[in-house]
Amino acid sequence: MTHNRYVVILGCGRLGSYLANRLSRDGNSVVVIDKDEATFRNLSPDFSGFRVIGDAGHMAVLKEAKLKKADVLIATTREDNVNLMVAQVGRKIFGVPQVLARVFDPKREEVYAQLEIDTICPTSVAADIFLRAIANDAAKMRGKSS
């Protein structure tokens, strides 16, 4: 990823804070939004970006994070619907060029692909890895038995 991009991250849980720390360390301008101030403890001491406290479902909060200027928006809250709404608002109303949302429910992910909203579904990603691992083990066992 190129440096010096303006990245807005929604949610400062395990995934959000991890991304924020990494992207900040790589030289990007990062803004993290979370409604729970305590989650900002997850940010590392060398995190150089901004913190916004607020509910991302409110337009005022997204404006405060200067979403209009953002190059990238990443929605990582634990609520699928929040991520899906903010991703669409970021894409279609604020015109953010790159928008990614975490969505746990694979059935929801499928529908939003139709709306050209890029989602990452940890459930289906993990399932794929598990299935591949199982298939590999099975192949190995067959190799041994023959």
Binding site: D80, M85, Q88, V89, K92, I93, V111, L115
Partner: protein, 220 residues
């Protein structure tokens, strides 16, 4: 007609009571188990306990084949997603979302979901009722871009006693119907206007004020 309503509280209760009394088949989806039990006791509706933004639950509620889905939960993001899933996944012809944050009505419309805000509706009603007591009805149509207003001409009205073509109206305004002695007349330029007439006006929000002034005069 079959309608699915997602949400709870008094809004849902009264909407549901209203629709079932008109003969709708209503299915309620609510996340709170206790509230589901209460609703099932109080209303002649099918009640499903679960997350209305879950594709499985919507399917279970019979979204495929429903005529309308109404999302009135206190969370705007849930209402948006429920309506989008209903329309995209199940092809429900009418999906309407409550926007708790009035700013979100516009956002939802941009994202392709019909939305309403109780704050907006109540606000505009109070404004209209308070500003002119002669206005008996105000109906925003075309997503609020057109107003249909019913007004009463009284003796102080500058329009009373004039012919319609003698009244200078702003552009994009129309007197659609004159109701005189309970008889509706579709007026032409030569029709006169009398005290006691009820006029149905079609205006745009930007010329609504000036048009009203032309018929009722200046007063507050």
């Amino acid at each position: 007609m079959k309608a699915i309503i997602v949400g709870g509280g008094k809004t849902l209760y009264f909407i549901c009571r209203n629709l079932t009394s008109k003969g709708y088949q209503v299915i309620i989806i609510n996340r709170d188990k206790e509230e589901c039990i209460q609703l099932a006791r109080q209303l002649p509706a099918t009640v499903i306990w679960g997350d209305g933004s879950d594709v499985g639950i919507l399917g279970e509620a019979g979204a495929m084949g429903a005529d309308a889905v109404l999302a009135v939960t206190p969370n705007d993001q849930d209402n948006l997603v429920i309506c989008q899933l209903a329309a995209l996944k199940f092809g429900v012809p009418r999906a309407v979302a409550l926007a708790n944050d009035p700013d979100n009505t516009e956002v939802f419309e941009t994202l392709g979901v019909s939305a309403f805000s109780t704050t907006h509706i109540v606000g505009s009603l109070i404004e209209q009722r308070a500003s002119l007591e002669q206005i008996t009805n105000l109906l925003p149509v075309g997503e609020g871009r057109v107003n249909v207003t019913e007004i009463l001409l009284d003796e102080t009205s500058p329009a009373a006693g004039k012919r319609l073509k003698e009244i200078t109206l702003p552009e994009n305004a129309l007197v659609a119907v004159v109701i005189r002695d309970k008889q509706p007349i579709v007026p032409r330029g030569d029709n006169d206007l009398r005290t006691g007439d009820r006029l149905v006006l079609i205006t745009l929000p930007e010329n609504h004020g000036p048009v009203l002034k032309a018929f009722t005069g200046e007063r507050r």
